[in-house]
Structures are given as structure tokens and as C-alpha cells.
Symmetry: C2
Subunit: 413 residues, 2 copies
């Protein structure tokens, strides 16, 4: 097994190679990686069965084991993902230029980031998705998946290595950290010499550990305590449809609504019917006192509810006195992911857009649209909830940086 | 004195105010800040004399005391800096838009970062420069300058506060951490709730501490171990001019050349004359064995020389066997700041541009051009040597982020 330091050195070497190859070679590698995944499907499924058996032994919840599971359809999804990347435009090499009065030509060119470290939890399809995105953008990648999926991840990376080599690229373009101990993660988080960027993908605990201990630039992704604010001038029928969609269409994802804020002027009209319908969908209601006066079937919300991302069929409900209270509540308890106002008032829509501090702010639409595909990016590595480098859905361009190339003919200063 | 937490809270509040005001109000604030600096010039100079007296008592070097010094001319420079910012275009509010097939309109709009923490060393003019750049871009700022300049910084921030209030903005838009203890810095580095970005400006030690301990996104600036590589096909007269300029025109700045790499095929022709001229400028030569065989007056370079940023009249010199050795040496020992090749060969120029991993890569020009003003940006907060968010000189746009505003009419997914 390679040490983290060896993995880092090899990744850096591979990144220099990847930075100078053409889009055609990268697309060929993606196609070969897709084919190799298909060819080694049975080995991957076998390895996955081993992981699931271990997981059952350890007593993991069935929902987690389901996330871990790979079958023909899921592998076909991974293959399709790699093939679709071939068709997307390559951002590397494009840029802009200016000529300075002293005759210097400045080219600002898009280049790969270099070596990307991705730290994620149990879903093994991330292994192939993330590898594909990195190869398409000319980055080498160090993958550190969860221990529950280690056999699956080894099998997937072995297949990807075959594909890379068929395309005459070093297999070290995509490396897996096979030792999933905490110590190895800490080493990865501080290996400044060889890793350019870290992207944690997973729950709040994982992200917190990376942010706290990393000495390498991090892009935080995916925590979403998203709010829907129903303003006093909302179209209440539209408001209900958006609320139901944002909460129930896929409650386990980061762009699902977790909280409902309702203006007090329409609370007694809107809440009874809307909350009844949410309950009929199986949603648990945790609400403030004012809400419970209107809708007594709701459970009382605790203090910690306002900052919790449930990722489940639960919603926190609060009646607010004003749009200002709604905005302040969102800026205080939100995670800067996706926030929506439902209103027919032009001025108040603009106020909400301007003052809510989040990656994506919606007027009269479901928060569920925060997604690379829905934004027309084609592919997505995650949703950035921080402000540096990228904000909101991150596509291929967000996996690159820029470099100034300055062409002179003897200029001195 | 405010605690760091109080400073943070007030900065966050002020940032919400700043995010929604017009360019006109921000320019008015800059003009009022400039005027207040002029009006309180004598108080600032008095405070600065106190700092310098303390510094002499503590036995600080004269060069450091000179950096600390404020006189009429330097304050006039600070005033001019603020006034020039008024004329620069405001990046906030601009952006792009797309319409999605489902009718959603996506606006990708440039917005302020929020609260910026700037941690810097003794030069007190940074206090007003950084404050001005932040106000122009709608960010509130927490300034943590060095303890040697504390009285000067307090006097400057007092003046800026008067200016802000005259423009009807809260003085908390610009706050100084008056307690310069290490403990307060550590608090600042971890105050995720209230600080959006940290920018360290100063020596390698300061930057390392921030990177190691920060739990907030950091933009690293300014370390520059810059190389000039003289290729075998170089115009040797141009090579000498660029070398002398890059090393001697201002040796204490980050874009000055620190190392000279020379292709062995032209070493015996180029080095004797070039090194003789460098010495005549007062530059100390620390060289590899091969160089010393050609130019015996050079001192032997130690191992640590190759990674050292001297910021002084010293240069490290190494003969290399090939352009590959030069590129590998630069990628290993450089700080990803500014690197130059001097060559007349098209193919080798392109190879160097593609493979050297740095913010600014030059062909046939001095590394001294890496500068916001020289790049046509008008103003600069620093030179980013990292790859996330910004690379190379950072102007106004680099002090902003983006936000997606999504306008719908009832869309659900």
C-alpha cells in the first residue's frame, strides 16, 4: 500500500502530464474508463457484496446499506456519467487577453487546479463521478472514500486505471487512499506540497473536520438548511405547490426545504391547509408557538431545530412578524445554500434578493432547482456554500483556475 | 475595548448595510475618508511618532522603523489612494443571465464577499489602503495590524470613522483589532460565523500561521521566490538587462528575482559578464559548483538557498543541463508567484509557459511586472499565490463573489 506521501508525489507528477494533454486525449480516457467499468462490472458487484456483508455485520442501518449498494443499473449510471462528460466543452485553455501600453501581451488562460483531494462518505458512485470530472478538467485526483465502501472503491479505481492506461495516461491520475484510518485523512489535510485543493462531500461532521484541520484550500459543499418564506402578498396556491415540492420531492438532498417561514398576516389562512397537506405526505411538523395556536397537531420546535438540516420528512415552521424578521432569521440560521421567497410584491422580492446572503436566492420557485444539471452546467461536483472561488453548483469551470502568460520582447520596469 | 466577538458581530451587521448601497454612496464615503485623513494628519503623525519612539526603545532595526514611518508625503499617498479608488469601476451588481427551458431566469450577479479580515505587519499605510478597497467593493473589514504600528493604526481608523459617518455609513464598516495579542488573532482566525475571508499580508511566518490555524477561507498573498531562466537560445544582451532589472530595481518586493538559472550551453559566455555586473550593483552571488567554476568570486550556495525568498540584494545562481531541469527546479522550489524564461525559441517558450506552475509566467520580460497597476487593474490588495478564487494580482473584482438570483413564476421540480 502506498503511503499518503507517495500518493501525493505521484498525483503531482500525473497532474503535470494531465495539464498539457489535449481535450481529445482526455475524452478518449473517459471513454476507456467507461468501457473498463462495464468490462469489470461483475468484479465490482462482487466487491460491493463484500462491503454490504461487512456493513450488515457491523449493524449499519438499511438506508445506509441501500446507499452503498451497486447493481447493474447503478454501474450503468456511472458509465453513462463518464460518457456524457465527453460531450461537454473543455474549459481548459480558454481565456482572455489584453495588450499593455508597454507592449506586453497578457494572456489570462484557464488551467487545471492540479491535484484535487476529494473526501466523501459511503456512496461508491462518487468514486467514478469525481474521477471523471477531474480527468475532463485535467486534474489528477486523490480519492478518500468511506471505510464501508472500501472494497467497492478499490474495484472501481482498478477498472478506471485500466481505462487510463489504455488511453496512454498514468494510472496515478486517479488514486484511492486505501488506508481509511483517521490518521491518513489528517495527513492528507496537511500535505500542502502536493495537494492544491480539498473538496469534502458529505455530512456536516465530515465538512467540519476538514475545515478545522486542513492547511490546504477547501471548497465546502452541500450543507443545506433551506427556507421557504411565504410573504403576506404571496399567491397562496403557488406557495403551497412550491412548499410541497421543495419539502417532499426528495427530502434527503441538500436543496430540499427544511424550514417554512410564514408572514403573520396570512398565517391563519395559509397554514391549516398547507400543513395538513404536508402531513398527508408524511411530513412531521415542528413548529413555533404561534403556528401551534393555528395548527395544534404540530409538535413544538426546540431551539436546535432552527439550525438543523433534517434531510428527512420533517419541517420546521415559524410565523414571522415581517419580511425583515424572515431575512434576519435566514441569515442567522441558514447555511447560505438556497433560500426562497413566495410573493407578488416587486419591492419585497427585490429586498429579499438583495439582503439574503446565500448562494442561490429564489423568487416564486422551488429551492430544488439548485443543481448543476438544472442550471445548464451538464455536470456537477457539488454545491459550494462558501464565497471564495465558487458559489452554488460547481461545474467543470469551477474545477479550474487561471494562469497569466505574459509575452514580452525585452520589457523591463 | 471591543472583544473580537463584538467586532465580528458589528462587522457582519455593517456588511449587510454595505451590500445594498449604491456606488455613489461608496464613492462619497471614500472621498470623506480621504478628507478626514487630511484633516487629522497632525494627530496621525503624532501617534506615529509615539510608535517609532517605542520601536527604538525595543531596539527595532532602522529599516523596520523606516517602514513604520508616516510623514506628510506618505499620508498624502494614502489620501491619493482613496481618491483614485473613486474613479475605478465598481464590480458589484454586474453579471450575466440565462433563461432555462422551464422559464426560470438565472441571474449570476457579482456581490461583496461580506466581512474581510486582513492581518498584516508594520506598514500603517495598509490600514487605509485595505479599508478603501473593501469599502469600494461593499465589504466591511476587520484590520489586525502589527503591534509596532498600533498607535498609528488607531489614529488612522479614527479618521476613517469620521469620514464614514459623514457619508452616513456606520463606522463599524472599518474596525481595528486594538488588542494585538496572539490570542486575539487566533480568535479572529476561527470566527467562522462572522468573517467570510481572511487575507494575510506579510512575511512567510505570518502567512504560515494563518494557513495553519484558520478555519475561515484564506487567500494567501505575496511570497515570491521568483526565477529567471536564461535558455541556450536567449538574446544574451536582453537576458542581462532583464536579470539586472528583476534583481536590482526593487529587491525588497515579492516580484523581484531571487534566483538565476542558466542553461549550461551558454553558461560560460553569459555568467562572467552578467554576474560581474550584478556584483557591481552590490548583489551578493550564492552559486552552485558549476557556476563557481566559471565565476570563482561567487559564494557557495547552501541547500536552503534554493527555497529562500531573500527580499534583499542577494541572488542564488544555478547552471542547469536542460530546460526540463529548469522547469522541474522551479516547480519544486518556487512559490508559484512569477517565473521567467529568456529565449528566442518558439517551442521552448511554449513548453515553459505550459509546464511552469505559477500565477504569472513570462517570456522575455522582467518578473517585476506582476502588479495590479502594471496589469491595468488600477488598485491591488495583494498578489495571490494560491489557485482558488484568485491568482496573481488581485484587484477590486477579486474582493467580490457571485450570487445566483433565480426568478420564477411557480416552477416546481
Amino acid at each position: 500500500m502506498n503511503t499518503i506521501l507517495e500518493i501525493g508525489k505521484k498525483a503531482k507528477e500525473a497532474s503535470y502530464k494531465l495539464a498539457t494533454i489535449s481535450t481529445g486525449v482526455k475524452n478518449d480516457a473517459l471513454a476507456q474508463m467507461a468501457k473498463a467499468l462495464e468490462d469489470r462490472k461483475s468484479e465490482i458487484i462482487q466487491a460491493n457484496e463484500k462491503d454490504r456483508k461487512e456493513a450488515r455485520k457491523k449493524g449499519l442501518k438499511e438506508a445506509l446499506i441501500e446507499r452503498l449498494m451497486l447493481d447493474d443499473a447503478r454501474i450503468a449510471g456511472m458509465v453513462k456519467g463518464l460518457r456524457e462528460l465527453c460531450d461537454l466543452p473543455d474549459p481548459v485553455g480558454n481565456g482572455s487577453m489584453i495588450k499593455r501600453p508597454n507592449g506586453l501581451t497578457l494572456l489570462k488562460q484557464r488551467v487545471p487546479l492540479g491535484v484535487i483531494g476529494i473526501i466523501y462518505e459511503s456512496r461508491p458512485n462518487v468514486t467514478s463521478d469525481a474521477a471523471g470530472l477531474c480527468i475532463k478538467t485535467g486534474n489528477s485526483v486523490i480519492l478518500r472514500g468511506g471505510s464501508e465502501a472500501i472494497n467497492s472503491n478499490i474495484a472501481i479505481v482498478e477498472a478506471l486505471a485500466i481505462g487510463l492506461e489504455k488511453a496512454n495516461l498514468p494510472s496515478t491520475c486517479v488514486q484511492l487512499v486505501e488506508d481509511t484510518s483517521r490518521e491518513r485523512v489528517q495527513e492528507l489535510l496537511t500535505m500542502r506540497e502536493y495537494v492544491d485543493v480539498l473538496i469534502p462531500r458529505g455530512g456536516a461532521g465530515l465538512i467540519k473536520n476538514v475545515v478545522k484541520n486542513a492547511q490546504i484550500p477547501v471548497i465546502e459543499t452541500g450543507e443545506g438548511n433551506c427556507h421557504i418564506f411565504i410573504d403576506e402578498n404571496a399567491d397562496l396556491s403557488m406557495a403551497k405547490d412550491i412548499l410541497i415540492n421543495a419539502k417532499t420531492s426528495r427530502p434527503s438532498v441538500c436543496n430540499a426545504a427544511e424550514k417554512l417561514l410564514v408572514h403573520e398576516k396570512i398565517a391563519s389562512v395559509f397554514l391549516p391547509e398547507a400543513l395538513k397537506e404536508l402531513r398527508s405526505w408524511g411530513v412531521e411538523i415542528r413548529a413555533c408557538e404561534k403556528t401551534r395556536n393555528i395548527f395544534p397537531e404540530a409538535l413544538p420546535a426546540g431551539k436546535e431545530d432552527w439550525s438543523t438540516e433534517y434531510l428527512d420528512m420533517i419541517i420546521g415552521v415559524k410565523v414571522v412578524e415581517s419580511i425583515d424578521e424572515a431575512i434576519n432569521h435566514i441569515n442567522r440560521f441558514g447555511t447560505s445554500h438556497s433560500e426562497a421567497i413566495i410573493t407578488q410584491d416587486y419591492k419585497r422580492a427585490n429586498l429579499f434578493l438583495a439582503r439574503v446572503d446565500a448562494a442561490c436566492v429564489y423568487v416564486n420557485a422551488s429551492t430544488r432547482f439548485t443543481d448543476g444539471g438544472e442550471f445548464g452546467m451538464g455536470a456537477e461536483i457539488g454545491i459550494s456554500t462558501q464565497k471564495l472561488h465558487a458559489r452554488g453548483p460547481m461545474g467543470l469551470e469551477e474545477l479550474t483556475t487561471v494562469k497569466y502568460l505574459i509575452l514580452g520582447n525585452g520589457q523591463i520596469r
